[in-house]
């Protein structure tokens, strides 16, 4: 059987993920809490979990009319679809330029890749989001204009362009596997593995990277900065894991992907949640998920605190 080696390594396949974990542990009615970032933000506020500040929520085309008046007060911002996935439809504006010409103020936005966008283009992009171009099932959507997060200095040598994020797979409240996604030139500054970002596996017990891949291929150095990718010690590691574990209590999804960013000032904050986290994390860690998932006994976790569950995970994985 050609799958013998995969089975021996305990690799989780898509069918198994869906059939045994997602369908059995994730209640469908709780999906909107993670799929819709507006709802996630509301929940997170109630639970005291930090997330990027939402400047404004655009729900209809009418509120686009005076967009330039509303955004010109900010230095930078991020536009994202509330129901987007895989980072699709996200635009990062790092600078807002105001030009005075013949008494008319012209507002230009500089993107993170240094391209300039007219305000009309920004509006067009938002209307694309509203009509559901980037949403999971193509249904009409809401756009979020959000504070841009700054990069933690630890990543200065490990990231090209955008902000790295930490993905933690949380099963029944226990962090089971984690990786940090580092943007590269070929991923266009995005922390998206499909587009060529680096995925670096993290040792849960100490928060140290132990392996790195680009598109399923093992790499030793960052292709753009040349820094060694293994052995990077992440700051606020325990806090990050506790944050991830708390998200389980918050949305009550047994099989959950938690995306965390490290901010220079506030430490780890929640970026978004995912009810169908991808399987590439196993390649980044050179390890299968199945043995770890099977170690978790959901019944035993009922009365445990997030802190206690993290203790278990740091000890075992």
């Amino acid at each position: 059987m050609i799958f013998r080696e995969l089975k021996e390594l305990g690799i989780l396949g898509i069918n198994n993920r869906v059939g045994r974990y997602i369908l059995r542990h994730n209640k469908r009615s709780n999906y909107p809490l993670v799929d819709n970032k507006v709802l996630t933000a509301q929940r997170a506020e109630a639970w005291g979990i930090a997330m990027p500040e939402n400047y404004m929520i655009v729900e209809n085309y009418g509120s686009l009319k005076n967009l330039h008046l509303k955004i010109q007060d900010y230095d930078s911002f991020v536009i994202k679809p509330a129901n987007g996935s895989q980072g699709n439809g996200i635009i990062v504006i790092k600078e807002i330029i105001k030009e005075e010409k013949n008494g008319v103020t012209r507002v230009l936005c500089r993107r993170s890749n240094d391209k300039l966008m007219e305000i009309e283009e920004v509006k067009h992009h938002i209307s694309g989001i509203l009509s559901g171009l980037y949403s999971l099932a193509g249904q009409s959507d809401t756009a979020i204009i959000q504070a841009k997060i700054d990069k933690h200095p630890i990543f200065d040598n490990y990231s090209y362009g955008g902000i790295p994020d930490i993905r933690v797979i949380v099963f029944e409240g226990y962090p089971v596997m984690s990786m940090v996604r580092l943007p590269t030139k070929s991923s266009d500054g995005r922390a998206n593995l499909h587009q060529g970002a680096i995925g670096a596996g993290i040792n849960l017990s100490n928060g140290c990277t132990n392996n790195a891949v680009i598109k399923n291929q093992v790499v030793e150095f960052h292709p753009d900065t040349g820094h060694k990718l293994v052995g990077l010690q992440l700051p606020f590691w325990r806090e990050s894991l506790e944050l991830a574990a708390q998200c389980f209590d918050m949305v009550e999804l047994g099989y959950l992907g938690v995306d965390i960013v490290l901010t220079p000032d506030k430490g780890p904050i929640l970026l978004e949640l995912n009810a169908r986290p991808g399987l590439g994390i196993q390649i980044a860690n050179l390890a299968g998920l199945v043995p770890r998932l099977e170690k978790i006994r959901p019944q035993a976790s009922k009365n445990l605190l997030a802190r206690e569950r993290v203790d278990f995970s740091m000890e075992n994985f």
Partner: protein, 537 residues
């Protein structure tokens, strides 16, 4: 819980199969309608040369190995009389004024090969009066009679039965007389040993009749082979029939058949002597065409009778009770679940990525309703429109739904354009549903251009390729006509498909694509364990 699923799945898969068994073994129903052979669409036009108010031409007549249906004779300005009293049929067109127009005859003709193996010895001495004309000798020059006498002495022994005599004459004419189309009289043939197909048939005829065997020259048309153009005009050719053991046995000295006639020869008249003058090129100009028609390959009508006669529960539930247009629709619709089966296997067991979930099946339907070549071309154009539209309309900042509607409208314009400029108009008018699938697919196409910008060319091509591969796979499956009929005849198999889909749905193992995806992981892991085992001596 698990036991219930196993039970339901087993019931779903096994029950329909048991029903099939019951139908075939107990009710003695066939599981598929009888096959009907491919037929020929036969078309003949003729016009007399000179001024004639009446004009005759042979037309095919049913007989051994030949069935005729849908006969049509154009008779707007003429009176038509068909004389089919003899073994052949002769149509006569007459009018008050000289016939200047072409007359036409068309029919659907089903040809079967004739084969008489082991023809028994024949010692018949007297024949019914009706056969006398097949024993009459034509007038020959005395020297030709002498030459034939001479031949007979050389090849015949004198005391044999008629079957053996005919066989010897056949061997002589078939092997010793060389084919030469410029030699057109018996006299020349006897002198040179060469002859045209007609003369060879005539010589055989004379020699058989001299041995008191009723014999005739038959006029045939050789049907075109599948490779030659359908427009090819066909000519008359000739062979013989001899009356042995109360049966007319086909013999062809030109192509070497004894007691045999392959199914690409159609007899149009069974006695050349009667039509010799009628079909002479001096008197008539004619054109014959024949084309393979694959219509009614399965005989549904017969099967319907069979089902209803069985008077079981199945006869009441059979789809054959539906009106014909509905039947045609359902034969196609019954294939859709098979497509979903292919799709489920491709996506969940193999892991082929596709655009949308049911796009491949819609594409398959589109291919089936039109044709693969055309369908593929049309799909490619739709894809290009989808991508092109985004590049062009991007600058207009249009909202997404109107923009998608624009693509849809463009595709409809393309369809109109095609039907206006295509000579093949019937193609569209007959298949009113043919374009419906592509219209649905169109809505998925814009996702392609989004994917192109967001996930790159390689991933998009992979997905596009995956979609096409599944669509083509489905198309190949849909082209199996027997499968289509089998599903239509036994719709209970849909439950089996549901059972199989449950099995696929319960599959938790790896997809084939994951073998590739995690290949590097496995390799790296192996390297690591090797390094560790090397460290420990």
């Amino acid at each position: 819980m698990k036991k219930i699923i196993v039970l339901i799945t087993t019931l779903l898969i096994v029950t329909p199969l048991a029903m099939l068994l019951y139908k075939s073994q107990v009710l003695n129903l066939s599981l598929l309608p009888q096959m009907v052979d491919d037929v020929w669409n036969f078309h003949l036009t003729a016009r007399p040369k000179g001024d004639h108010t009446s004009f005759s031409f042979p037309i095919p007549k049913p007989g051994p190995g030949i069935k005729i249906s849908d006969e049509r004779i154009r008779s707007k300005n003429f009176e038509v009389f068909i004389d089919s009293n003899s073994d052949s049929a002769l149509a006569t067109w007459s009018s008050k004024e000289p016939i200047k127009q072409r007359v036409t005859y068309s029919a659907r003709i089903d040809l079967k090969p004739l084969l008489y193996k082991n023809i028994p010895k024949d010692y018949t001495e007297t024949y019914p009066k009706g056969l006398n004309r097949y024993l009459k000798m034509p007038t020959l020059l005395p020297e030709d009679v002498a030459a034939i006498n001479h031949l007979e002495k050389a090849i015949l022994e004198g005391n044999e039965d008629k079957t053996s005599v005919v066989r010897k004459i056949y061997y002589y004419v078939e092997e010793e007389i060389q084919r030469n189309t410029s030699i057109k009289t018996i006299h020349e043939t006897l002198n040179t040993g060469k002859g045209s197909p007609l003369i060879k048939a005539k010589l055989f005829n004379i020699m058989a009749r001299r041995q008191k065997v009723p014999s005739r020259v038959v006029v045939m048309v050789r049907m075109p082979d599948l490779k030659s153009s359908a427009q090819a005009k066909l000519r008359f050719t000739f062979a013989n029939e001899v009356f042995l053991n109360n049966k007319w046995i086909p013999i062809d000295t030109n192509r070497g058949y004894f007691g045999e006639r392959p199914d690409n020869f159609m007899v149009i008249h069974r006695n050349y002597e009667e039509v010799e003058k009628i079909i002479s090129k001096k008197r008539v100009s004619y054109a014959i065409q024949a084309e393979r028609a694959r219509i009614n390959r399965f005989n549904k009508t017969e099967f319907k009778k069979e089902v209803i006669k069985s008077d079981s529960i199945f006869s009441r539930l059979s789809l054959y009770r539906l009106p014909l247009p509905l039947q045609t629709m359902f034969t196609t619709i019954m294939l859709i679940p098979i497509g979903t089966l292919v799709l489920s296997i491709a996506r969940n067991l193999i892991g082929i990525p596709t655009f949308g979930i049911f796009t491949p099946i819609l594409l398959t339907l589109f291919f089936k309703e039109t044709s693969f070549g055309f369908g593929f071309l049309f799909f490619s154009v739709v894809v290009l429109i989808g991508i092109g539209e985004r590049y062009v309309l991007d600058k207009f900042y249009l909202l997404a739904v109107p923009r998608l509607s624009i693509i849809l409208t463009l595709v409809i314009m393309l369809m109109i354009g095609y039907s206006l400029f295509s000579t093949d108009i019937a193609f569209i008018s007959q298949k009113h549903l043919a374009f419906f699938p592509i219209v649905i697919v169109t809505t998925n196409i814009e996702r392609l251009s989004i994917m192109l910008t967001e996930e790159g060319l390689v991933n998009t091509l992979k997905t596009l390729f995956g979609t096409l591969v599944i669509a083509i796979l489905g198309y190949l499956l849909y082209s199996i006509h027997a499968l289509e009929m089998f599903m239509f005849t036994n719709p209970e198999l849909l439950f089996t498909i549901i059972g199989l889909l449950i099995l696929i749905g319960k599959y938790k193992g790896y997809r084939l694509s994951e073998f590739l995806r995690f290949r590097d992981l496995v390799r790296q892991k192996k390297k690591q364990t090797e390094m560790i085992s090397n460290d420990i001596p």
